[in-house]
């Protein structure tokens, strides 16, 4: 009898406790999830800095792209066969803060008309002085713009950014620049309220870089109302914005570090969209295709995934060995098995959406006999198996999976491959010091131009980004001669020449060009893919 009472009290204690916890389980679905004018996005990124000119994490870039207008923007047009989606096309621009533009001095001077009527939250008008301030700051404060403005906009002094009147702004380049408009359209050229920024500048920090890390001071369709790292970022529509108000009044970015959770959240329709880099692996995207109430948006993109081959390290200083690697990559198996088809096989280092890409130059296809023959000709087989490390980054799932396929084939042609996994930070550091022999790398050129791409990836001067440590005076000269060449025929012919060199020299192990893929609720339309990968939510709405 007694023990029965104990059993009861035990049950009361445990089951009762659990019942109390789950009593709230019937709680209604969240208020925000029901509000049709709120968009809930799941990602795994935190805002590290909000300084427009600086390098940032994804969350920083996306916030900047939605909270700041740029002088001009990459134009997007609807994608045929994918209703409700749009993408940009090379060389096409839309007005933004600048409503029109013209050229002078044979194209060496760009003249922009700044629109009237746009106002900063402070009430001050957006004018040519604000546009000049944005470029002055880019040129002189540390970060990305300080690198590209002198080389690609051919501007070395702030005097070349000229205010002609309150609504006319001119960029006086040294010579006409083929990439100038693309550089002006970058999200880094965020229009700041100069008075506001100056108020927070100090003697040591004349561009208020410290303050702008955590604060916004400009105009855009959204403003940042909450930033709680590891929890959420909330953007709300800017009142009195110069364009019509966006459909979504509020965008909530939820920090969800675990991919399996992101999948469950989508399947339960607890979030509208998964974003990030890339947010979902191809295998999970494939599994969500056909899921009721969800849709998958996938378009070819310019991100290159490649095997960086250190051309300075034996035996890879021998071109035949590098060619052999390219004949041994089983891309025909990696594409369906690892990438589930959300990619295009790489045929040259210049992506297929970039002007000047020539897809017919590459002789490489999976052919082990040819690869072994090249290894024999290179005279390295007497030392076989040749030990080699294949480096990749933890968390880059496609690379982790593809590495096993590559390892198996390379071992068939005389290598002994050790896969080395490193954190992103370690990987970058080892890469820059030339410590990698073979490594999985990825690169996207925000400026969709063959010479921008070639300059950063293959010029011997580009110490930190030339992942293969390639050094070829002939190619360097080709890049120097054409990076600011304006004659389109000449540029494209030279780009073909450059690709011939790079394909023959087998500087990269050719893998794939990624597709840009997002999974979302079926009622969302208006997603736009621009050359950078950052979503602008202004045009997104529910159908």
């Amino acid at each position: 009898m007694q023990t029965r009472i104990h059993r009861r009290s035990f049950l009361k204690a445990t089951v009762g406790g659990a019942a109390a916890l789950s009593a709230t389980a019937s709680a209604r679905r969240s208020a925000w999830a029901q509000d049709p004018r709120t968009l809930v996005v799941a990602w795994d990124s935190d805002i590290d800095t909000l300084d427009p000119a600086q390098f940032k994490a994804i969350a920083g870039y996306v916030t900047i792209a939605n909270c700041y207008d740029t002088p001009i923007a990459w134009k997007v047009r609807p994608i045929e066969g994918k209703p409700g989606f749009a993408r940009s096309h090379p060389g096409e621009f839309d007005p933004a803060i600048c409503e029109s533009w013209a050229t002078e001095a044979d194209g060496a001077t760009l003249v922009f008309k700044v629109r009237r009527g746009a106002r900063f939250p402070s009430g001050r008008p957006v004018d040519a002085h604000a546009v000049k301030y944005c470029f002055d700051r880019g040129l002189q404060s540390p970060g990305y713009m300080r690198i590209v403005i002198p080389s690609l906009l051919q501007v070395s002094s702030p005097d070349q950014f000229e205010v002609r009147d309150d609504h006319t702004f001119a960029i006086k380049m040294k010579a006409p620049g083929p990439m100038a408009m693309d550089i002006v359209a970058l999200s880094n050229n965020a229009i700041l309220d100069p008075e506001e920024v100056r108020a927070h500048a100090t003697k040591e920090d004349p561009w208020a870089a410290e303050w702008l890390k955590r604060n916004l001071a400009g105009i855009g369709p959204y403003r940042l109302t909450k930033n709680e790292p590891g929890v959420e970022v909330v953007l709300e529509a800017t009142p009195g914005y110069w364009r019509p108000a966006p459909y979504f009044q509020r965008i909530v970015f939820k920090f969800v570090p675990n991919e399996a959770d992101r999948v469950l959240l989508l399947k339960r329709k607890a979030v509208d969209l998964v974003a990030g880099r890339p947010g979902l692996t191809p295998k999970n995207v494939k599994a969500l295709e056909g899921e009721p109430g969800l849709k998958v948006f996938s378009v070819p993109d310019t991100t290159c995934h490649f095997l960086a081959i250190n051309t300075q390290k034996p035996p890879f200083d021998n071109v035949k060995v590098r060619q052999a690697v390219n004949y041994a990559i089983p891309i025909q198996a990696i594409l369906p098995n690892v990438l589930q088809g959300y990619a295009t096989p790489m045929t040259t280092p210049i992506p297929h959406l970039t002007p000047g890409h020539v897809g017919t130059l590459s002789p490489y296809k999976y052919d082990l006999d040819k690869a072994r023959k090249l290894m024999r000709e290179a005279g390295v087989l007497d030392k076989a198996p040749i030990p080699v490390e294949l480096a990749l980054r933890v968390g880059f799932v496609a690379h982790e999976q593809a590495s096993v396929w590559v390892q198996r084939e390379l071992e068939k042609i005389g290598f002994k491959v050790a896969i080395v996994k490193e954190t992103d930070a370690t990987f970058r550091q080892v890469a820059i010091k030339g410590g990698h022999t073979l490594s999985f790398e990825a690169w996207q050129s925000w400026v969709n131009d063959p010479w921008y791409h070639l300059l950063f990836n293959f010029h011997s001067k580009s110490k930190f980004t030339n992942a293969s440590f390639y050094s070829n005076p002939a190619l360097d000269k080709l890049i120097d001669d054409n990076v600011n060449e304006v004659n389109p025929q000449k540029r494209l012919a030279a780009a073909r020449e450059a690709q011939k060199i790079l394909v023959e020299d087998a500087v990269w192990g050719f893998l794939w060009y990624d597709s840009w893929t997002r999974v979302m609720k079926a009622d969302l339309v208006g997603l736009e893919k621009r050359w950078d990968t950052f979503e602008r939510y202004y045009a997104v709405r529910r159908a």
Binding site: T3, Y144, T465
Partner: protein, 338 residues
């Protein structure tokens, strides 16, 4: 030796321990591969810019200078700046420690509320069906990794049944946080009478606390069972039975009270385990605590938060051990007399 002297001696021992901890946390990030200046400088930075960044971050100074700066900063409450959130680590900690503490305490509650009765019942029904069930539960609880049980729980209770909330933090969207008193939402909401916030906080706490709590329940139940068996077989219990005392009094008042003494030690160990186990569970449930923060920081080789995290866990462990020792000293005079 009186209790006061015991306490002082015990407190003095904390000092060298803490110095050792700062040495280890400093060495940890100093020895880890990866250059934080490079990460900060970005992918297109020039070598000169990286060198400048190193100089500004003090990375070019000798090791002992760097260590001294680190300790001096700590003394002022300066844990450095996080590169991935752009904020002082102390601010991030202030925001995240209550979340971790809330989860840890809730799990501890789950573990004791389930583990102690289970241990007692197992001992009373030795080798009976209930004892076997408890044994199986124990093995399962220990053998299954928490990231797996957590995911499984999410799949069943959130995705299939829809009774658990989405793993999107500590409160449902639209429910505002209670006024900040302790930072523990359950406590703050209960104290200020914010019932919707209390319900939402408990609802969100349910799955992670059960996942973590059930993982540590098993050793607790086994320990209670073993000591209960030992004590039930001892002379004073036999005497109590012989005197005809009511069973409830014998079992709960006499036996269990004595059996719980070693459990205090175990709870200290479990608390430490929970702080570490949090890292995995927080990741699975997107719980905005310091475990999640530590993992993100490790991935980006963000030195200040990693140092801060190790320091925090070490200090908590030292304090918990201190508390356990003091409690022991109070509970058992033999210890402080030794």
């Amino acid at each position: 030796m009186g209790f006061g002297r015991y306490l002082i001696r015990r407190l003095l021992l904390v000092v060298p321990t803490l110095v050792g901890v700062t040495l280890i946390t400093f060495a940890l990030t100093y020895l880890l591969p990866g250059n934080p200046a490079l990460v900060k400088a970005g992918p297109l930075a020039t070598p000169e810019y990286v060198a400048d960044m190193e100089r500004r971050m003090g990375l070019d100074r000798p090791v002992y200078v760097q260590y001294w700066r680190y300790v001096r900063g700590l003394a002022r409450g300066d844990l450095g700046q996080s590169a991935s959130t752009g904020r002082p680590v102390l601010d991030d900690f202030r925001q995240r420690i209550p979340a971790t503490l809330e989860l840890t305490l809730a799990s501890l509650l789950v573990a004791t509320a389930a583990g102690i009765p289970l241990g007692v019942l197992s001992a009373l029904h030795r080798d009976g069906p209930l004892d076997h069930l408890a044994r199986v539960l124990g093995v399962v609880g220990v053998a299954m990794p928490t990231f797996w049980t957590g995911l499984l729980a999410l799949y069943v209770f959130f995705y299939v049944l829809g009774v658990a909330p989405a793993p999107l933090g500590r409160l449902s969207p639209g429910v505002s946080a209670p006024p900040h008193l302790t930072g523990l939402y359950v406590v703050d909401a209960a104290l200020t009478g914010r019932w919707p916030a209390l319900a939402s906080a408990l609802h969100h706490l349910m799955l992670p606390a059960l996942t973590l709590g059930l993982a540590v329940m098993a050793p607790l139940a086994r320990m209670v069972r073993a000591t209960m068996l030992e004590i039930l077989a001892s002379d004073f219990i036999k005497a109590a039975w012989a005197a005809g005392l009511p069973p409830a009094r014998v079992i709960y008042h006499d036996a269990l009270r004595n059996a719980l003494i070693p459990v205090i030690t175990l709870l200290g160990v479990i608390f430490g385990f929970l702080m570490a186990g949090n890292v995995v569970v927080e990741r699975v449930f997107a719980w905005p605590g310091i475990g999640n923060y530590a993992v993100t920081s490790l991935m980006t080789k963000d030195p200040a938060p990693i140092q801060g995290f190790v320091l925090f866990v070490a200090v908590v462990s030292v304090l918990v051990n201190l508390a356990v020792d003091v409690l022991y000293g109070l509970a058992d005079p033999r210890i402080r007399l030794r």
